[in-house]
Subunit: 208 residues, 2 copies
DNA sequence: GCTGTGGAAGCACGTTCGTGCTAAAAACAA
DNA sequence: TTGTTTTTAGCACGAACGTGCTTCCACAGC
């Protein structure tokens, strides 16, 4: 029998190298040679675990989606564990929404990589399937959150869908601005905007 | 004297070729050779008008910013011409916000190019100055709009700034979703979200 | 008609990329 | 020790990239 290596662990190490390169130098710099250098391997070694560059990128996209979706699911459970309308629930909601923003180093890397892949998926068909999965997963979480925050079941389905899309758009826009214009979009500004959006959600049934 | 051509017009033709390539194939495909082909010229001819690839891209970025800013200024004048609180003003506001979204072919190309350059500016320092100008210009328009829509002058400055950033984030998020997930983010969904956001703006002073 | 200048085109060089393919190295069964 | 198989490393090819430099061409001014 041959030399035995934890193949899955190696793949994750390579994926981590991909993440670091994308976060610091952008997706177009994530070539096989750069990734191999960053991972401390040779090009041939990386290609032993990933048949092609496309497969490496698609796998990395899937990995970052899984990381983000996992964080969101956990935070959503935290929201569901709190009584509706309580201060604790409000804090849990803010925590969930904060998972979208680059508030610390790990979140920033994931947000960077996520944004890069989603935009690349518009052009590269290899990434389209994962982009669709990404959108479904995040929309499901935000949709459930909107349902939780809607006081009555009386709201029209269309209104809830629109509110979910509105929250999703605001979150993606905030994340984008925090990544692209970090001087303007500070953490305080992010929380101010999130607080204002939550107030607008509470005021929604009154305006109905 | 030599053969005389309208140099500025030629530059604009080349920039239009850059726009088309970015919209259809992404920024990384906007190489000198591809741009020259799309414009029906040779590489040397393109380089006669733009000293380097960086200069061409930076100029194209500036061009799309000027186009967008021009549309926004015009639409903002339209809002200011209507009496506050009127139905006509509401329509003018929706028209202004619609200028951000890829609602027709021309708007879609500009939105695509704008997004691509803003994200590229995170990595390429040559584009950083234009990205900053872009942010300033758009933030100024949205800030003025928020001031126009705020009924009293009693609102705290910080609240107005946060509301401007909130509207800006929602618009950018909507634009992003419309570009990346056009099946989900239809034109109707966009207008629903915009309408909901405007309602939340009207309800804001009441919640204060 | 001749000439010089601005516009258009292209060649050549070095670099980087993905990828097919080969060969060494390493670890375990025999 | 020997052999088998996984892992690692590397070479080589064609393609695409930016860019320095040279070459043609058309036309306004003399």
């Amino acid at each position: 029998m041959p030399k035995i290596v934890d193949a899955e662990a190696r793949r994750q190490e390579v994926v981590q190298a991909v993440f670091r390169i994308i976060a610091s130098d952008g997706l177009e710099r994530a070539s096989l040679r750069e990734v191999a250098d960053e991972a401390g391997l040779a090009v041939g070694s990386v290609r032993h675990y990933f048949a092609s560059s496309d497969e490496l990128l698609a796998f990395s996209f899937g990995a970052v989606i899984d990381r983000i979706a996992g964080r969101l699911e956990a935070a959503l459970s935290g929201v569901e564990a709190e009584p509706p309308g309580s201060k604790e629930q409000h804090a849990a909601v803010l925590n969930l929404l904060g998972q979208f923003l680059p508030l610390d180093e790990e979140l920033a890397v994931d947000a960077c990589v996520w944004m890069a892949f989603r935009h690349a998926a518009r052009i590269k068909p290899v990434l389209a399937a994962e982009a669709e999965r990404s959108h479904r997963a995040v929309a499901a979480v935000v949709g459930r959150l909107i349902m939780l925050l809607s006081p009555g079941e009386a709201e029209a389905h269309q209104t809830l869908v629109a509110e979910a899309e509105r929250l999703l758009a605001t979150l993606d826009g905030l994340c984008m601005h925090a990544l692209l214009q970090p001087e303007w979009m500070t953490a305080e500004m992010c929380s101010d905007v999130l607080a204002a959006h939550l107030r607008s959600l509470e005021a929604l049934p009154a305006a109905h």
